[in-house]
């Protein structure tokens, strides 16, 4: 067996915030530099600003309050090149009380051959290998997007709901409306 096989994954556990969202752990920064990922927009931006509220639900419909959620998305022009005003990457912990994570971001533009979308990545206690899904928008034409087509009759689990001033999205880990997760 090759020495260079991917390191096996392990759960992020319930205290992931210490390393990845220290403000949520209640950890002062003291000697550490600033935390990463909580702010995607700086100054005046060219695109359409939106909130994206994400909640992860477990098999009993209870919010996964210890989830760490990252998003990776194109900017308004459909590009992954970062600018001074916009970071394509965001990271938020679910609120420890409500389980909701709020991203303040820009609506992504379309990539060639794909509808506008946001990659969403979820780590938590009880999740052995972080889960990857996508978020699409109800006011876009998603019909010819290859991921939406592949998701078939479960494609609607990938579409956020409009909720001014943005969108809200529920990710279900189990149940009849289980969200589609990808191996990409």
């Amino acid at each position: 067996m090759s020495d260079f096989k991917e390191s096996p994954s392990q759960t992020a556990g319930p205290y992931v915030h210490i390393g990845c969202a220290p403000q949520t752990a209640g950890l002062e920064q003291r000697g550490m530099g600033a935390p990463f990922g909580h702010k995607m927009i700086a100054g005046v931006t060219p695109g359409h600003e939106m909130t994206l509220d994400i909640t992860v639900l477990d098999g009993e419909g209870a919010p996964v309050k210890d989830a760490l959620i990252e998003i990776w998305q194109a900017g308004p022009e459909g590009s992954y090149a970062p600018t001074a005003q916009f970071s394509n990457w965001g990271r938020q912990a679910a609120d420890l009380t409500t389980g909701q994570a709020r991203f303040q971001t820009l609506k992504p533009g379309a990539l060639k051959g794909q509808a506008p979308h946001v990659l969403v990545w979820i780590a938590a206690r009880g999740i052995n290998l972080a889960l990857t899904s996508r978020i699409y928008f109800p006011d876009e034409n998603n019909a010819s997007d290859p991921f939406m087509i592949a998701a078939g009759d479960r494609a609607e689990t990938l579409v956020a709901a409009k909720a001014e001033p943005g969108y809200t999205h529920v990710i279900r880990l189990q149940g009849p409306k289980e969200t589609v997760f990808f191996d990409v």
């Binding site: 991917e6 950890l27 210890d66 990539l111 972080a130």
Partner: protein, 241 residues
């Protein structure tokens, strides 16, 4: 710039979503199989971080939460190794984040109520960037084992959590590092959710006397491997020149 797809992830090598003995997976493991899709620009790209984003003590957990002139309590260790991909190539300039319990097995977290004491001088959070040759290093203290609620008498082996970024989001990885010789490794349902003994062994750091500094600090070696890239005709041609 070429962006060959990453090689497929071997899902049999990773722990399955549902592992009966790890109770938290019961309501959190998706029931459907993951839907395999070809990578697009979304998965082939990812965030980048620079040395200017880091503070000077980010890679020193012995000092980065300590009051001036004081230090975290516990056996002093260096954790170091290389960040590589499955092709054996260095993955350079990527962010590695770590978090851990203190020497008593207690986390500095609002939700950790374990009776072992906090250490006023230890936060348990660190980060660094891999170097040009993939090497990384940080200083910390040996974390303690601790009990956790899993329906029985369950104790985590001493461990350090790792969060790693690669060149593309498809390489994103979270894992844990264990310590050579820890009897709890064999007893832990989280570790044992990994089906293959060889795979578990890849997460066990080795005592490294070569990097140990006499009368100061011991060293442990832990290499991290991210998904590699598929070889393509184009790439072979490039390398052949």
């Amino acid at each position: 710039m070429t962006k060959n797809p990453f090689s497929p992830r071997d899902l049999q090598w990773h722990p399955p979503a549902l592992h009966h003995d790890y109770r938290s997976t019961h309501l959190r493991a998706p029931q459907h199989k993951l839907l395999h899709m070809p990578q697009t620009e979304t998965e082939l790209t990812g965030p980048t971080f620079g040395q200017n984003d880091l503070g000077p003590l980010d890679d020193d957990l012995i000092l980065n939460y300590a009051t001036d002139g004081q230090m975290a309590q516990g056996p002093r260790i260096i954790v170091h190794g290389k960040l590589l991909d499955e092709n054996g190539r260095a993955v350079a300039g990527k962010l590695i984040e770590v978090w851990q319990a203190n020497a008593s097995g207690r986390y500095r977290h609002v939700n950790d109520g374990y009776l072992a004491p906090l250490d006023d001088n230890f936060g348990g959070c660190g980060r660094c960037l891999s170097g040009a040759d993939g090497s990384y290093s940080f200083r910390t203290i040996l974390p303690g084992p601790y009990p956790w609620p899993n329906g029985g008498n369950d104790w985590r082996p001493a461990h350090i959590h790792f969060s790693v970024f690669g060149d593309g989001f498809a390489q994103r990885l979270i894992t844990q590092m264990y310590f050579e010789g820890d009897p709890h490794i064999k007893l832990c349902p989280i570790v044992q959710s990994i089906p293959d003994e060889t795979a578990i062994d890849r997460l066990v750091a080795r005592l490294d006397m070569d990097k140990t500094i006499p009368m100061d600090i011991r060293a442990y070696r832990f290499d991290i491997v991210l998904r590699g890239r598929n070889a393509t005709l184009f790439e072979n041609q490039m390398e052949g020149r």
